[in-house]
Amino acid sequence: MATIELAGKQFDVDEDGFIQDTAQWNDDVARAFAEQEGIVELTEEHWKVIRFLRSYYLEFGVAPMIRKLCKETGFQLKYIYQLFPTGPAKGACKLAGLPKPTGCV
């Protein structure tokens, strides 16, 4: 199991850098991942997406479909790609501390 140091703490990650234990996640982890992903500053809109992904994951145990994400947050898919350049699956889910989604989100 690979490990990574974020915000002064050690985390177990898989080969793509997704953290394994969702419960360890906090806001600092998201900020540290944002730096890696090349996001300059996490705005309120970033947090809206991240908070929705987390609440959905904690409720249902899976990452939501893209359609659900766009509908609930009210953002166009194109705008989500502007917020998270690597996309909702590899970008947003990683920041939200979810395990790697199996499909394409």
Partner: protein
């Protein structure tokens, strides 16, 4: 840390994996391990059944991945630029003999790893592995990567799909630009017009992806069309070269790109959607077999007959009786005095007579039919497309009515289909009647699953007779 793997005894596929610590401390996993070891299981990879084989190995923990910047791979190690050693290629040399231009001779001139093809010929099976995507900031769909089953020859190959202009027309200058990019960054090899209607540039190392894509977009081309989105559409050559086309397929595809380009570049559907546009029921793009959404030009009235031309064609040796007998509806009648006549009720508008007899043209009341659910792969195998809308007018320049309908169709698919379910599988699962209700189409006798043969044959009472009562 010692690792315990349970593998298929036949093919070696790893079915379960544990660490020695887990087996000692977690009773649930130990129980499962014991259960699997004593039971005959079916391998999901080769479908062989039997006892599983146990293998133990001591592996070092892998190091933490370095902070990833820019392009990075999700499924495989980054594909680096590599030089391939020259080696003997007897099988490929044999294919280069003879008068016809040889593909092996062309491959050898480029940086393509020829040993992959040579080994494939010798072992009679491909040496390439599974596919995947490399995410690239700025390209939402990502870039395709083809992994290699022989890492000692090549680590794999990234390739981008380039959307071609309508009609697959390239100006020579633009092509030269693409060739320069392929020479500079890739194998120096272009896969011209794959079956999906796009151009593939093969073998771009991962560190070259960003500059390569930048230069391609600078030339005015777009990359994309991978993942769960609209794939690049394909149309028949239509009014640019053909005389039979019933609507402007090139303009239609252009308008389609104008309207749906976001869906081509940003994946959001449950699975891929392929669109094909054919100008007439001859269906040169094979849309009925391959496309999830197939728009086909149709006409509602009867084929037009130029009697003088038909008569001169018959006089010149045309076999009119053969055509009349082979007409699928049996609706053609030839009389030497009266000329050719068509029975409107049984005519299928299949284009057979129009293709064969000079002097026959398609009718004037023209539009398009929309068919859904054709595919070659997917969960339930190959399927033919089903007619959803038998006739709808295609009005240029924006074809609003048709595209609104297609959008409604994809919204239904997006909302109700499961993950990784093609449109044809989705139709089979929920049933065509349910789908009609969801999309909002009135079912009518004009909708057919297959070309009509005897579906609406009118039985006379005298023809209906019970075999048991003689």
């Amino acid at each position: 840390m010692e690792k315990v793997k349970l593998c298929c005894a036949k093919c070696g596929f790893t079915i379960e994996e544990y660490t020695a610590d887990e087996l000692a401390t977690v009773p649930r996993k130990a129980k499962r391990y014991k259960y699997l070891l004593n039971k005959s299981s079916i391998c999901p990879s080769c479908l062989a059944s039997g006892r599983l084989k146990e293998s133990r190995s001591t592996g070092e923990a892998v190091a933490a991945p370095a902070p990833q910047v820019g392009a990075k791979s999700s499924t495989t190690a980054p594909v680096a630029h590599e030089e391939h050693a020259a080696a003997a290629t007897p099988m490929m040399d044999a294919l280069a003999k003879g008068p016809w231009p040889s593909h092996t001779a062309e491959l050898k001139k480029t940086r393509y790893p020829v040993q992959m093809y040579e080994e494939a010929l010798q072992k009679r099976t491909t040496q390439w592995g599974y596919g995947g995507y490399v995410s690239l900031p700025g390209v939402a769909t990502g870039v395709l990567v083809r992994a290699s089953a022989r890492p000692e020859i090549t680590k794999g190959s990234n390739f981008v799909r380039i959307m071609d202009p309508c009609g697959n027309f390239f100006k020579a200058d633009a092509m030269r630009g693409l060739c320069d990019i392929a020479d500079k960054y890739a194998y120096g090899l272009l896969h011209l017009l794959s079956t999906g209607g796009d151009l593939e540039m093969l073998g771009i190392p991962t560190e070259n992806l960003k500059p390569a894509v930048e230069e391609i977009t600078k030339l005015g081309f777009d990359v994309g069309s991978t993942g769960d989105d609209y794939r690049t559409s394909e149309e028949c050559i239509g009014p640019a070269k053909c005389d039979l086309t019933l609507y402007d397929t090139l303009g239609f595809r252009y308008a389609w790109y104008q309207r749906f380009l976001d869906d081509v570049q940003y994946p959001r559907f449950p699975h891929k959607i392929k669109c094909k546009f054919a100008g007439c029921p001859n269906d040169c793009v094979r849309g009925g077999q391959k496309a999830d959404i197939f728009v086909c030009g149709v006409f509602r009235d009867l084929p037009k007959i130029d009697q003088a031309k038909v008569a001169s064609w018959v006089k010149g040796g045309g076999d009119i009786t053969l055509i009349c007998t082979r007409c699928p509806g049996g609706s053609l009648q030839w009389d030497a005095k009266k000329g050719l006549s068509i029975d409107g009720d049984s005519c299928m508008r299949c284009m057979y007579c129009i293709n064969k007899i000079s002097g026959m043209r398609p009718g004037d009341d023209r539009g398009v039919a929309i068919l859904v659910g054709g595919k070659m792969r997917g969960k339930y195998g190959p399927m033919l497309a089903k007619v959803l809308v038998p006739f709808i007018k295609a009005v240029p320049p924006d074809y609003k009515e048709v595209f609104d309908f297609i959008e409604r169709l994809t919204e239904v698919y997006d909302e109700h289909a499961r993950k990784k379910e093609r449109l044809g599988d989705f139709l089979l699962r929920i049933g065509i009647n349910e789908f009609f209700q969801l999309v909002g189409v009135e079912p009518s006798p004009l909708l057919f699953a297959q070309p009509r043969t005897n579906l609406f044959y009118h039985w006379e009472p005298s023809e209906i007779r019970d075999e048991r009562q003689k």
